[in-house]
């Protein structure tokens, strides 16, 4: 089947298909190269495993699906018509076993009468387990290609662009429009999905000066326009934002730059769609076989690629365009054995063809074809009501043209019905988009009614959906276009219905007895053609799009080889094992040191806010549910914050640094949420207040020093008397200004030192030196947890889980009695005071170790009354203790329960107690 137009010596590129090596010419698609090498059988259909070849020359190809490439860059389900051959390309056919020629799956064809649309809804009954048995085989038969298993070695990049005019389509209309706009001084981007510009001019170069395309492109570029080939406009979003997918390398090709595809987000002032039309097939029996090709595709193979796809050719058409195909094929040396024109009268083109000696039949519609696995052998048609037959190896069909309106519709447009063309064309649009060229003005056609056996007349080739399936769906009541589509699965394959939607609508309209526009339309959604997942993910695929938040002092910590703990996007030291210590051993040692000596830890991630101004106090008494105004200068207190619905959602401390200046701290986990909340309250709810509330979370690093020796350490560091518990002073450490807060999370005498992050290192070094000199050590989050649980301090995300009120947490005595704080009104909701609520309790083990997260039940098999929110042990004496939430917990002290974890096979018997296990009188804070 290699055509006389093609010089064999010009084929210098090597590629392989199913293990055989062939030669191709630069610029060939894989499909063109296969045809040039006489390869007609390229794939097997999804359900019936019917032999399939190459039907089109474009992205609408439903049949010639192959896997191209190897390893992690192999791309399954690649249209052979949409990949350009490069040296060393490796392609394999899909969905066949053991091979393409002898595919065992062809037996499904025999069962075809039972496997029509929706057959699986009517059978395979029984238990769910039994369905999974059938499903195993169905899933193995389903799908076409195989996904790669190795990692993708290439990169995908993203780019944003802005322009005045985005032109989609590099054919004559698009080029002309881009030229006019660019030379009028507009910033223009022109995109074309093919590798070369020209579109329709490529298959019909006779229609314009051959140099026009290149010259126009040069002028566009000279005027500052940007032209992107191998670039598809994929989605039209809001406000004229269009996403483009650009290939920098072909499927399976090693990209020279390492980047294989690029995703563009283009904001355009206006969009001009010059997207042309896609030719329609005609429905007749076995119209899916190799040797059945769209007419413009056949013409393209001859004119663009120099390949003759058949030697004895039948043309079947309902319009004038296919006559150009007849001419082109004849010029290339094919014999045109018949032109079947469905129209009743001879058009000018038909008259012209007949005068040129071509055999033209009017009132002629193909009814079936016969063929071998790789090409046709004959065509049967009904001509004036009589059956006629021709021997032929190719039938080139043209059933009309479907304008590509996808982007117009995605933009929120509407459609008009063009009766002469039997097609939908763009009408009104909500956004700044217009459609020009063939997409707006498709050729007139004559509507063809299929004369063939509906069972074998395919309309969705890839999903093996025939006219009979549409009829069956109709008979069963699936009559809206969406029901029809979903029941038959037509339009849901990789070609997204580009060849099947109109045929389906036509049949539906016929059944309904209405015109096509009255029958309905499916929704148009991105992507216009399928898009690689790697491209959508972009660089985010490696790290799940999650940046890392590093402590200001992270290098200092890293040098000590801690065990790191992720906390949201942060990484914080969990423990600093010495020698061969396990995590548990290190954490226990660290916690003991804090209880008996002194420990030091990094608390930089805490949320911190500087609130200042004449209205600072009033502002804080909105945010905090406790009083603030009673704080003297230099004093601080524990506080907590409520959501508007009265639920406690964060806690922390507030310190009065000066008359009208405060430092507010709150949890790490809630930091971003608190920052947004504070900003919202300040900016939206009380803009009139004279206050400034600045998020200083990352401005300050924080160091905590805790333990009975902490005061000695702090005295030495600041060379002064350290503040008493819950007081604050400014100070200097190692010559660096710091704020010292005497606060304790651990339950020991403790201090928190806040210092500007960029100059924290020398302060840390000084602290560490002093702590070490006192025989102390660093401690991490694990030890911090043990310490705070034993003390009974709450943690946001644990006890404070977004469902507990201050009453539930036994914090209600601290509520500001004057009210007025955010959440006060929410607290008055009646159910918040009803019995049966979860309340904060302590738990001590009677036997076993209390598992964190375990359920609290009264007896084996009972339903949970609560759960363990945090489990630890008495650090110095040993013994498992925990904090938890328990229904009506305040009134159940002394009760014995079971803490049960069936998933871990663990349980403990526990007693309900007060949620404080250490120094309930606060003696450790006194000097």
């Amino acid at each position: 089947m290699s055509g006389p137009l093609r010089d064999p010596k010009g084929a210098t590129i090597s590629f392989s298909f199913d293990g055989k090596t062939y030669k191709a010419r630069a610029g060939d698609t894989l499909a063109a190269a296969l045809l040039a090498n006489g390869v007609g059988l390229v794939g097997r259909s999804f359900k019936y495993h019917r032999p399939r070849g190459i039907m089109t020359a474009g992205i609408e190809e439903p049949n010639a699906l192959v896997t191209v490439g190897e390893g992690g860059r192999a791309e399954p389900n690649t249209r052979a018509t949409d990949v350009f051959v490069y040296d060393g390309l490796i392609a394999r056919s899909q969905n066949r076993w053991p091979n393409l020629s002898f595919d065992v799956g062809a037996v499904f064809s025999l069962a075809a009468p039972m496997l029509g649309a929706g057959f699986y809804y009517k059978t395979f009954f029984g238990s769910a387990k039994r369905w999974m048995f059938y499903e195993y085989f169905i899933r193995k038969a389903a799908g076409l290609g195989n996904a790669p298993t190795k990692a993708d070695p290439d990169r995908f990049s993203q780019r944003a662009a802005f322009c005045d005019v985005l032109v989609v389509g590099g054919g004559p209309a698009g080029l002309q429009a881009a030229l006019e706009q660019a030379e009028a001084g507009k910033r223009v981007i022109l995109v074309e999905q093919d590798s070369i510009l020209g579109a329709s001019l490529i298959r019909d170069p006779q229609e314009l000066d051959p140099a026009w395309v290149a010259a126009t492109a040069a002028r566009i570029r000279a005027a500052g326009g940007r032209i992107l080939t191998r670039t598809t406009a994929s989605g039209y979003w809001e406000h004229d934002l269009v996403t483009l997918t650009q290939r920098l390398a072909e499927p399976g090709e090693v990209p020279p730059s390492g980047v294989t595809q690029r995703l563009w987000h283009v904001r355009a002032g206006q969009v001009i769609l010059a997207t042309g039309s896609i030719e329609r097939p005609i429905a007749f029996a076995h119209n899916d076989r190799p040797g059945v090709m769209l007419s413009q595709a056949a013409r393209t193979y001859v004119r663009r690629f120099g390949v003759l796809p058949g030697k004895r050719v039948v043309i079947a058409t309902n319009n004038d365009d296919a006559y150009k195909t007849a001419q082109a094929l004849q010029d290339a040396g094919a014999e045109i054995v018949a032109i079947l024109d469905a129209r009743p009268d001879f058009s000018n083109a038909a008259v012209g063809a007949e005068s040129a000696g071509l055999p033209v039949w009017t009132n002629a519609v193909p009814s079936s074809v016969t063929g071998a696995r790789h090409c046709l052998s004959g065509v049967t048609a009904i001509v004036d009501g009589q059956s006629k037959h021709w021997k032929a190896d190719l039938i080139a069909v043209s059933g009309g043209f479907t304008p590509v309106v996808h982007l117009h519709m995605q933009a929120g447009g509407s459609l008009d019905w063009n009766e002469a063309a039997q097609a939908f064309v763009p009408a009104v649009s909500r956004q700044n988009v217009t459609t020009i060229g063939g997409a707006a003005n498709p050729d007139p056609v004559f509507p063809v009614t299929p004369v063939s056996n509906p069972k074998k007349s395919f309309i969705d080739f890839q999903n093996d959906v025939s006219l009979a399936d549409v009829d069956l769906a109709w008979a069963e009541g699936y009559r809206s276009v969406e029901h029809l589509k979903r029941y038959t699965t037509l339009g849901m394959a990789t070609d997204q219905g580009k060849l099947s939607n109109m045929a389906a609508l036509g049949r539906l309209a016929e059944k309904q007895g209405v015109s096509i526009p009255e029958a309905g339309l499916t929704t148009f959604r991105p992507p216009y053609t399928p898009v690689s997942m790697g491209l959508i993910a972009g660089a985010g695929a490696k790290n799940a799009g999650a940046h890392v938040r590093r402590l200001a002092l992270c290098d200092v910590h890293a040098a000590k080889n801690p065990i790191w703990q992720p906390l949201g996007y942060w990484f914080r030291p969990r423990a600093y094992p010495q020698g061969q210590e396990t995590l548990a051993q290190a954490a226990l040692r660290e916690a003991k040191e804090v209880r008996t000596g002194v420990g030091m830890t990094d608390v930089s991630t805490l949320a911190k806010f500087e609130v200042s101004g004449p209205d600072a106090t009033a502002f804080l008494e909105l945010i905090c549910a406790t009083t603030v105004s009673k704080l003297a200068v230099g004093r601080g207190r524990y506080t907590f914050m409520l959501r508007e619905d009265g639920i406690a959602f964060d806690d922390g401390t507030v310190w009065r640094l000066d008359e009208n200046r405060y430092l507010l701290t709150s949890s790490t986990g809630g930091a971003d949420r608190m920052a947004t909340h504070i900003s919202y309250v300040r900016q939206y709810l009380c803009p009139q207040l004279k206050v400034s509330a600045v998020n200083v979370q990352e401005h300050y690093a924080g160091i905590a020093i805790a333990g009975p020796k902490a005061k000695a350490v702090m005295d030495a560091l600041i060379k002064a008397d350290s503040p008493r518990h819950m007081s604050t002073v400014p100070a200097d450490i190692a010559g660096v200004p710091v704020i010292v807060l005497a606060a304790s999370y651990s339950g020991e005498r403790a201090f928190e030192v806040y210092v500007e992050a960029s100059i924290a290192a020398p302060v840390w070094a000084a602290c560490e030196a002093e702590v070490t000199a006192q025989g102390g050590c660093l401690y991490g989050l694990e030890a911090m947890e043990f310490l705070r649980i034993e003390k009974g301090h709450l943690v946001v995300g644990g006890e404070v889980d977004g469902r507990m009120t201050p009453m539930d947490l036994a914090l209600d005595k601290m509520l500001n009695k004057a009210g007025g704080y955010i959440g006060a009104t929410g607290l008055s909701r009646p159910a918040l005071a009803e019995p049966g609520r979860r309340q904060l309790v302590g738990l001590e083990a009677i036997s076993g170790d209390i598992p964190e997260g375990a359920m609290l039940i009264t007896h084996k098999g009972g339903s949970p009354h609560g759960h363990v929110s945090a489990a630890a042990f008495r650090i110095l004496e040993g013994g498992s203790v925990a904090l938890g939430q328990l229904k009506d917990g305040f009134s159940r002290h002394g009760e014995e329960l079971i803490a049960s974890s069936p998933t871990r096979g663990q349980e403990a018997r526990v007693r309900v107690v007060h949620p404080h296990f250490y120094d309930t009188a606060g003696e450790r804070y006194r000097d």
Partner: protein, 87 residues
């Protein structure tokens, strides 16, 4: 992806903004309990135009009120809030 006109920065991509809540959901600081809970929990949620509070989080970080149609995404107005926007 909408283009939103920040009152300070001009037209910017939607990805720079974060939606916070609707204007009708706002609980005024001096609201009585029933009024507060009604605002918080009873929304008009119209299939048409509504006023919403957004923040230019990845830009100037200012808050703004946007009047937008929730089917067509046509934004008819944006205006600044905060101390600078006080009369």
């Amino acid at each position: 992806m909408m283009q939103i006109t920040c009152p300070h920065c001009g037209p910017r991509a939607q990805s720079e903004f974060i939606y916070e809540r609707t204007v009708d959901s706002v609980v005024p600081l001096d609201a009585a309990p029933e009024q507060a809970m009604a605002a918080l929990f009873s929304r008009t949620n119209p299939r048409g135009v509504d006023e919403e509070i957004w923040r230019h989080t990845y830009g100037c970080r200012a808050w703004l009120i946007m009047t937008r149609h929730r089917v067509t995404n046509e934004i008819s107005a944006t205006r600044a809030v905060g101390p600078e926007a006080l009369p």
